[in-house]
Symmetry: C2
Subunit: 113 residues, 2 copies
């Protein structure tokens, strides 16, 4: 795989919770001011375990997102970097889907169209 695996690009923030043949579950944890390098997500469901405010950028445009704890969002396959622009830690889980194919409906961050 040539994609930028976030557990390789940003191992300080991303760790593997478990993996099987259908999913890989990642845990993300950072502190205010933290910024990741660019990395790629396959089609995923993100579940927030804290409230947070972040800037997500793809190189061509940026979006700011603010989410409460305990919500789920669809993250269509995309490459981006993320910056914690709030005053709380960011803590969330990603359920990465392994099967080929996917949608971009309702995705949260910037996508490479």
């Amino acid at each position: 795989m040539e994609r930028l695996d976030p557990t390789v690009t940003n191992p300080d923030a991303y760790s593997v919770v478990f993996e099987n043949d259908r999913v890989r579950v990642l845990e993300y944890h950072d502190a205010p001011g933290h910024r990741t390098t660019p990395h790629a997500h396959p089609d995923s469901v993100m579940v927030t375990l804290s409230s947070f405010r972040r800037r997500l950028g793809s190189g061509t445009h940026e979006v700011e997102v603010e989410l409460p704890s305990g919500v789920a969002r669809w993250i269509g396959a995309q490459q981006h970097y993320g910056e914690n622009i709030g005053d709380t830690e960011t803590h969330c889980l990603f359920v990465e889907l392994k099967d080929v194919g996917g949608t971009r409906d309702g995705q949260l961050g910037p996508a490479e169209h």
Copy 2:
């Protein structure tokens, strides 16, 4: 589909957060003493949003599980009922996988083998 959809069998506890062509995300919420009727889960990832203690039964055997808040567990496709046997609410999300196939590795509850 002939499976026992938990949003149909137990709409008091299960609701749909969102759905697309790859996943359906359910929210589960109950109070101590609550017991569901039998229902079916496809291969899913459960993320706990509260700590809880539950009894899961398949008709042939039962298991008790106790989990903290903020963890992810693989739920291999299975049919069961669940009972809140703790003294806290159960609050969690299910990321149901729509694609065919699946594994039973590391599943949490009782399975029909």
